[in-house]
Structures are given as C-alpha cells and as structure tokens.
Amino acid sequence: MNVPHTNVCYGLLGEFDSPKELMAAARKVREAGYHHIDAYAPFPVEGLSQALGLGRKHDLVPLITLIGGLGGGLSGFFFQLWVNASSYPMNIGGRPLNSWPAFIPVTFELTVLGASLFAVFGMLAMNKLPQPHHPLFNVARFKQASNDKFFLCIEANDPKFQLQDTARLLQSVNAQHVTEVRDED
C-alpha cells in the first residue's frame, strides 16, 4: 500500500449487504491467494480482521500508548522534582524538598494525558489519517460504506491481480456491483 501507484487502476470493489456475506467473501478471496485486500464497513465487524488475515502485529497502538504514558509520567515526576527541589526550592511547612508523595497527583495526570494523546494521534498516524483523497472516494456507491453497505476491495498491486479474473472471483463470492476503482490523478 505504501508504494506509489504507477497504474491508474487502484483495484476492484465488490459490494455486500451484510457483515456475514462480507466475512465469507473475504475468507474465500484470501483462500484464492490474494493478500492485498481490504474490507470497508460502517461499523467494526467482529472477526473481520482475522478473516482478512490481519494479526495482532498490525496493531502498534497499545505499544505507542504505553510509551506515551511512561513518557508523560516519568517526565512529569522528574520535572516536578527538578522544579521544586532544585531550580526553585521552596520550604513548605518544613517538608523535605523531595516530598515525592505530593508530586504523585500531577504525575498521574500527566501519565494519563501522555498515554491518551499518544493513543489517539498514534491511531491516526498508523491509519495514515487525515487523508482527504483516496481512489475509493471516486466510486459513487462507496458513499454507502458509511451507511449500510459492506465492501471488499482487491487492490491492483496484488501479484495475482488480473482485471478479468479478479472481477469474476468477486462475482463468484456473491458481490454485487463489482466496480473498477480508478485513481484519476
């Protein structure tokens, strides 16, 4: 998906009525040996990632979140320590300068803040969003992907991709309205 397309054909898009049909089709297309495929649904469909063969390793969001949380918490704690014990020491009620329990509330908040920011922006970055232009948006019927239709796209950069054969395969797995997706720029 990262390779810039030299071909103006992006892939073939098949439409389905229910998540069940989509999952069944995705499985069959994978069994037929295609790997560059993606499915589009108006809500998260349970088991669809497995049907497409996406493993846990595709998902770096938890790791990114952990890094954000650790980063926020550790830098928050040591920053407070540096501020209140070294850069601008203040004697408050005779407490020791490193009165670490008093730094915990802010450390906690910054842990959550760091983790949340990393989770959201990490998710967007891994999904390569925002992405205003995508060849799929050229297909008029694709508007239904955010309503009640389910789509399966076999991408043209798949080594097995052959316009005629692939279209026939999509029809054989009960796809309606098999359309060629063209990238027009």
Binding site: S49, E109, S146
Partner: protein, 461 residues
C-alpha cells in the same frame, strides 16, 4: 440482561429491557439520527430555547466584563469567606461532567449495551460542563490575565509553580480531564462525521464534515486500530475520572478547616459527582428524546437504569453524610462538634435541611419502579438532585468558612446579583452549547447503534 431473566415472558418486562425498539436496520438508524442534523428544519422550540440560553450567556459576558473592570469585590466573597459561589459552582459543574465519562468509559469496559445511545450526548455534556467549570477558578483568581502563572513555563523571572499545592494539582487534573474528554469524544465521532460527509447535500456541510472526518473510510485495518485506541482511552479515562473529583476534594481535605479536613471526602465526592452527573444526563435525555422522537433509541430501559445508578450513588452520598456527621461527634474535637451544631442550628441551617431533603429523602422514591419508569417524575427528580448537589457544595464551602476556629474571625456570606448572574450565565453557556451540538453533530453514536442493530438481529436469528 439481568432484567430479562426473571420473567422473560411478561411483555411489560420485555418492553422495559429493550435498549433499542425492534424493527430498525442499519439504514434506518443512519437516517433517523443523521436527519436531525442534515435535513430537519429549525423549529420554533429550538429557536426559543436557544434565544433564552444565549441571553443568559450574554449576561455571563456582562458579569465577567464587570468583574474584570471592578475586581472580585462585586461578589459576595469577603474574608473569611474567600471562596463563595465561584468554588461552589466550579465543584458542581465538574461533578456533573463525571457521568459522561462514566457512561462512555466505565460502562464500555463493563460491556453494558445500554450505554450506546446515551454516551455521545453524555460526553458532550461532560465537555460543556468542564468548560463551565473552568471559568470559575479562572475568574476567581482576581487577575485572570495572570492565570498562566499556574502553568509551569520557563519564565524570565525564574519562578515555578508550587507542586505540593492541591490548587496546582487541580489545574493539571481539570485540564487533563478536559483534554482527554475531548479526545474520547472526537474519536467516537470520527465514523459518524464520515457518515455526515457522505450524506450531506450542500457544499459547506460536505467540506466541514469532510475535513472533520479526516478521510475516514471504514477500512477494516482502520477499525482494528480504532477499536484498540478506543478501548485504551476507556481504560485511561476510568481512573482519570475517579482522580479528578478526588483531586477536587483535596482542595478541601488537605486544608485544616473544620468540616473539610476529613479522609472520607475523596470517595464521597466521586460518588456525589456521578450522582449529580446522572441527574443532569436525565435532565437532558428526557427533553431530547421527546423533541427529536428518539424514544426508539433512548428507551425506558435507559432511563430506568440511570435512575438505578442515581439511587445507588445517592446512597453512597448518604453514607458519606452520615459518617461525616458521626466522625465529627465521635472525634470529640470541639471545632468539629461545633461545626455539626452550626449545620443543624446555625444561620445556614435551612440550606443543610434542604440538602438532606433533596439528596437523601426525595431520591428514596426511586426504589419504586413506577417512579423510575415515569418520565415526568424522573425529570422532576433529576432537577431536585441537581439542586441538592449544588446545596451540598454550598454547605461545605460556606458553613465551614463562616464558623471556623476563632469567633473574632467568623463572618457571614451573602451572594450578590453578580454571583447569581455569573452562575445563571454558565447555565446559559451550557445550554447554548448543547443546542448547537444537537443541531450540528449526531447526538447519538450512529456507528455504535449499527453495531447494536447487528447484535440484536443476531440474537433473533
């Protein structure tokens, strides 16, 4: 589905157990919710409500402008009552926000299906309540243009905030809470913004929703990461929401003022926050489902469950009041004993009795199912609890400050016109934002409702 197990065959029980009325498809859910934003004409009722709310908001801008010109002396605060309405309202608003996060995060982790149709506007309520709350400590500083001193930034003066102070913890807790609530809300909105982009018929709407949707196309790969990010955010927001009101209660309990210096404050503040928040969700849900015919989606099951949560948290709050009372007497500390006496017989005793009436006695009616399933009764109840929770903060702030240790330092507090107008103004801000939200964004999560349709149709098969 605990309600369904008892007498499954009773049609009444089945009606009450529904989280969505039967007969809905993916397309009908999309149509019904998105049409409120995209096609429904602006009604007279909406305009009238908006006009009233917006006038109150304008009153707030006048009150704040006058405050900035004259200083905090226009309020009823004095020495020793330095906190007054500003802090009462701050705690009240922040508390209201908590139900939104509880519904969207904690009920999500607990896999409660009934959260689905109420989480979106409850999260919006959280954001707007935090916005209202944030105004008060800011303008209460007296010199709001210097408020940035509270943030640690490398200044040429070489000074830094004092991180051992609960007031600085508050700055971090509330700003983190606001940020995380906004992120959670936006992530939830993303697929729905794509729906609006695809269904909008006029150019400006297509451009605005298109930019906000960021090119979301519902790819399975995207949904996969989206779901893990959403789950992680729910997991992060859960301890966060508990920490926020805990930190707010530290503002009181770290001080040595009688009536404040008590270890029961954090849990009972959190319970009170959820209590008042659910009351506000009900206050909003009842007119919303009526005005936009959303009874299919916000069913009696939702209202009844929220009433049950109110009852449960109300009992925790009652437990908190009882132990606060008991420990003050049991401690034998003469200042604490005196404070109890002041609450029962002092100049502000009527507020205390009104608080007990609103927060403890009236909600006991929720034990009766007829009350929980009566929309009008629930609406009145939610207003009573909102009032009661405001009185609670008034009692905590004002009674303790007017009668602390030395009689020569005692005082009286009387709110002024500007106190009331600022408070009414934030209600105006809150309602204005809610009115704009209902017309500008889907008030119910469309993607999650489709998921619910998918689940319920599987159950039938």
């Amino acid at each position: 589905m605990s309600t369904g197990d008892r007498t499954v065959n009773s049609p009444e029980i089945r009606r009450l157990a529904r989280v969505i009325e039967p007969g809905h498809s993916y397309a009908s859910v999309t149509d019904k919710i998105s049409s409120i934003v995209l096609t429904r004409p602006v009604s007279i009722g909406w305009l009238a409500g908006f006009a009233i709310a917006f006038s109150l908001l304008m009153l707030m801008t006048v009150a704040i402008a006058w405050l900035i010109i004259k200083g905090v002396g226009i309020w009823g605060i004095n020495i020793p009552i330095g906190w007054g309405f500003a802090i009462v309202n701050f705690v009240w608003w922040i508390g209201i926000g908590h139900a939104g996060t509880l519904i969207s995060a904690i009920l999500f982790l607990l896999n409660q299906q009934w959260r689905t149709s109420i989480n979106r506007f409850a999260e919006a309520m959280t954001l707007f309540a935090v916005a209202c709350a944030g105004i008060f400590p800011l303008i209460h500083t007296g010199r709001p243009w210097m408020a940035y001193y509270m943030f640690p930034y490398p200044s040429t003066m070489g000074i830094w905030p004092q991180f051992r102070s609960p007031l600085i913890w508050d700055v971090f807790a509330v700003s983190t809470y606001g940020t995380v609530s906004a992120l959670f809300w936006f992530v939830g909105l993303l697929p729905d913004l794509a729906t609006l982009r695809d269904r909008a018929t006029n150019k400006p709407a297509q451009i605005i929703y298109g930019m906000l949707a960021m090119g979301w196309r519902g790819s399975a790969r995207h949904w996969h990461r989206y779901q893990s990010a959403y789950l992680l955010l729910a997991g992060l927001a859960t301890p966060l929401v508990l920490s926020v009101h805990t930190v707010v209660s530290f503002d009181f309990s770290i001080a040595i003022v009688p009536g404040w210096h008590t270890t029961i404050f954090p849990p009972y503040f959190v319970a009170g926050a959820i209590y008042s928040g659910f009351a506000m969700v009900i206050t909003i849900a009842i007119p919303l489902r009526k005005a936009y015919d959303l009874e299919d989606f916000i069913t009696m099951r939702h209202l009844e469950n929220m009433a049950k949560v109110m009852l449960a948290t109300g009992l925790i709050v009652a437990y908190g009041y009882f132990f606060e009372f008991f420990m003050s007497l049991y401690s034998g500390n003469k200042f604490d004993v005196f404070l109890v006496h002041q609450r029962l017989h002092g100049p502000y005793a009527p507020y205390y009795y009104a608080l007990i009436l609103c927060n403890i006695l009236t909600p006991q009616l929720l034990w009766i199912q007829k009350v929980r399933t009566n929309v009008a009764a629930l609406f009145v109840m939610s207003l009573v609890i909102n009032l009661g929770m405001w009185l609670e903060r008034f009692v905590i702030v004002v009674i303790s400050l007017t009668r602390d240790f030395v009689p020569s330092a005692w005082g009286r507090y009387q709110a002024t016109f500007w106190d009331y107008s600022t408070f009414a103004g934030t209600i105006g801000l809150f309602v204005t934002l809610l009115f704009l939200f209902v017309r500008g964004l889907p008030a119910i999560s469309i993607a999650e409702m489709r998921e619910l349709v998918a689940h319920t149709s599987e159950e039938h098969e």
